[in-house]
Amino acid sequence: MSTAVRIGIAGIGVTCPLGDSLEASWHRLISGQGAVGRMAFEGLPDIAAASIGSDVSQVLTRLQQVGTERVSQMALGAVRKALADAGVDAWVDPERVGLYLGTGMGGAATMDAGFAALHGGGRIPPLTVPAGMVNGASAVVSIHGDIRGPVLTYAVACASGSVAMAEAAHALRRGEVDIAVCGGVEAPLARGTVAAWHALRTLASPDEDDVARSCRPFAANRSGLVLGEGAAFFVLRREADLPAAPRAWFAGSAVRCDAKHLTNPQVRGQVSTLKAALQASGLAPSDIGYCNAHGTATVAGDPVECEALREVWGEHAAALRVSSTKAAHGHLLGAGGPLEAALTVMALQQGVVPATLGTAMLDARCTGLAHVLGEAQHAPGLRHAISNSFAFGGTNAALVFSRA
C-alpha cells in the first residue's frame, strides 16, 4: 500500500561528532575519517567514544541556559540548522507546527550529576528535574522555536529518533500539522551513564593501534559499540506545501516490536519491520540500492540484522549495498536513527554510498550482502535507500527514502 500524500524532506540540521553541519559531516565520512577518540572517566578504564568538540551551549545566552543542559542545547542547535536549511524562519500559525523528538536518556548528565551530589552528602541542584526530564529538550526547542502544536518526546532506546520521524510523517499525512520538525538527540557521555553501559559489557575496547577504528560493525574482530553524542533534525512537509524541491522524499516507514527479549534482537521482528517499511513505501526489495544498517558492532546484534536482511532481500541480498556509519560517528542511541537517515539522504543526493570504516574481514555470519568496506562507492543510479534502527526493548523502526 503506497501512501497517497508524499512527504518531502525540506531541511536537515546536524550537530554530531563528524561535524557541525550535514555537509561537513558527510564529507568527513566519505573521506574515511572517523570521529571516534579516547575518553577518560574517573573510576573507569578509558573508553572509545565519539564526542562533539565545539561548545554546544552557545545556542543560548547564559540566562537562557538556566534549567537546560547539553541534550537540550544540542537539540536546539540542530533544529535551528534544519529550519534554516528548509528556508523557514517564521510561521503564520505556530499551532500547525509539531515537534517529534526522540531521545533514549534525555538529560542523563544532569540526573547523573544531581544524584552524585546527593549520594556524596551534598545538595541536589534545584533545577535537576526540569533539566533532566526526558522531555526537557523538547520543551526547550518548543520555547525557543515557538512550536505550539503537538510537542512530543519518544523514548524508545536506540529507535527513539527513527520512531519520532515515522510518527511525524504520519501526523503530516493525517493533516494534524503543516510542518513537522522531527529527529533525535542524545548526550550520554557522562560518568554514570558511561559506567552503566560499561557494566552491560557492550562497549568496544579502544583499539590500541588506531582508536578511530575501535567500532568495527560486521567484522570478525568487532568488540562492541562505541557511544556517541549529538543531534539530527529534519523539517518535513507535505508535497503540496513544499516551497522548493526537497532534499529527498520520505517514502515510508514501519515500526514493529520483537516482544521477546530486553536486549537480544530477533530476526523475526526485524524481518517484519523491513517488509512492512517496504510495503508502506510501495517498493520491492530490488528497488532499494542502499541500506544504512543499525550495525552497532555488538557480537549479538550484527549477525541478526544481516540474517534479517538476507531473508527479506532473498535473491537480491547479494546486490544490496550495506554499511554502518556508526563506525565513524559512534552510536548516538536515540539520535542514531536521524543522523543515519540524514547521511542516507546525502547518499541519495550525491549518488555515493558511505563505507563501514574500520571493518576489514567480515564475520562469516554477516556475509551474503554487498557490504561497502574500505572506501565510499559511487552509486549514480541509487534511487531508494533504507535506514534501520533496532532498539533495546525490542522496538524496531525502518525508514525508507527516495531520491527527489
Binding site: T61, R62, L63, V66, G67, R123, P125, P126, L127, P130
Partner: protein, 78 residues
Amino acid sequence: MSTLTRLTRLIHEKFGVDIATIDADAPFASYNLDSLTVAELMFEIDDAFHVTVPDEAATTVTTLRELATLIDGLAVKA
C-alpha cells in the same frame, strides 16, 4: 563589599545579566530572572555566602534588596 554589591556581581557572573539593568528595588522579573532562575540563584547563594537561605525565600523575596537584607540576618556557617 556590601551584600547587595556581591549579589549584583553574582547575578552578572552566573547569568550574564548586564549590571546596569539590575535595579535592587525592582522585581527580579524586571531584569528577566524568572522563578526557576531565582531558585538557582538561591542555591548559589548558599555556597557563595556560607548560609542556608530558607526554602520559602524563593517565593517571599521579590527584590534584590530584600534578599540582601535576608542574607545579612542569616547565621554564617562555619
